[in-house]
Subunit: 229 residues, 2 copies
């Protein structure tokens, strides 16, 4: 499977050059033109690597970086800084970047660093990417977006896949509705919504043998839900 790279950069020419280069090297490329889009893509697409320009519209690369790390996203990040930009290397690295490259740079240099970073991070860490997961008589494949129960196809909607993925990443621990709205839905703050509960109910109907006495998706009253496998 090809590695997925997310490029967050507002300079069109640079973006095109990077995209061409990485695609030529066999990477799958995603791009974002500003910090906010970048932040969302980084969370939704789960790239293997993020190239992050420091100066960006809407939200600087440093902010994006800090935000991602704050949300527990540990995707490796390489920062792109313009020469002379008064960015303290240490600051960037302290915010959670894995490496940085100063413009102008040769593509080969960037590629070398990319591969070094990927190699360094490749031994699956705590947030290893989830491609498939089995529990009970259920199998969920996140790459092909297919699921089965007792060998029979199980129809899960996109949102249900996202929910399951989040729960599986945090299996065993309680997650609040807020966390879910934030991470799965991307809502910053929503005062009151029953959306989460409704989806939990639907998921239970699909994955639990006895939805009213769930074995996997457990309610923790006044706190949230947890997934037990």
């Amino acid at each position: 499977m090809n590695k997925k790279v997310l490029i967050v950069e507002d300079d069109e020419a640079m973006t095109v050059a990077l995209r061409d280069g990485f695609e030529y090297e066999g990477y799958q490329v995603l791009t974002a033109g500003d910090g906010k889009v970048g932040l969302n893509l980084a969370q939704e697409e789960g790239p293997d690597l993020i190239l992050l320009d420091v100066m960006l519209p809407k939200m600087t690369g440093l902010d994006v970086c800090r935000d991602l790390r704050g949300k527990g996203v540990s995707t490796p990040i390489i920062m792109l800084t313009a020469r002379g930009q008064e960015i303290d290397k240490v600051l960037g690295l302290r915010l959670g970047a894995d490496d940085y490259v100063t413009k102008p740079f040769s593509f080969m240099e960037l590629l070398a660093r990319t591969e070094a970073v990927l190699r360094r991070c490749s031994r699956s860490g705590p947030e290893a990417s989830l491609s498939r997961f089995d529990f009970g008589d259920i199998t969920i494949d996140f790459k092909s977006h297919e699921a089965t129960k007792e060998g029979q196809p199980l129809d899960l909607s996109p949102r249900e896949f996202q929910l399951m993925e989040f729960f599986l990443r945090h299996r065993g621990e309680v997650v609040t509705r807020e966390q879910l709205l934030d991470s799965v839905w991307g809502y910053d703050t929503i005062p009151f919504t029953r959306t989460v509960d409704t989806h939990i109910a639907k998921l239970r109907k699909k994955i639990e043998s006895s939805p009213s006495e769930p074995r996997f998706l457990i309610t923790v009253h006044r706190v949230g839900y947890k997934f037990l496998s």
Copy 2:
């Protein structure tokens, strides 16, 4: 001030290599050759980071890890596992490790992870979250909101978890009802309420073997309560 690293590893050659590497990087290094010594050093020396081999004489790394977390020690831990060792990543992480590295690894990789973990943990501040705590025959896991007494499930309500967390953070010291109302309940000022007392009574019924002669949740007449472990 230099960061202090505790290396718990029984392979001499590995220990020496790691010590040299970390000292070269400016860390202060402590070493232990078996699990028991490691456990003691971890508590007495208060290192900033612990590198813990999984296979150790006397006590496995997993046990050391669980023990430390159970005692409320939240020092970041990186586990070192041999390739092919049938250690469930999830198990290790659930026991409280922050990351793990599979042998053989390059020193640069370990260093990168070390710094990543230190970075991640330094953010969470001095009031690092308490994820699990053991006392007597009770285990309380705040992440999963689960508790056991003598291995049997113990049903604690959300408020009871909050109370326990506060007491555990302040174990050994007397806390007043006001402090509790303020911190746990969020009430600014409430003139007179028996709420705290009621909850203490309920907690005692659940965690004390003899609720009328409490061993953990002690009344300090006219002052408040204290938790002893």
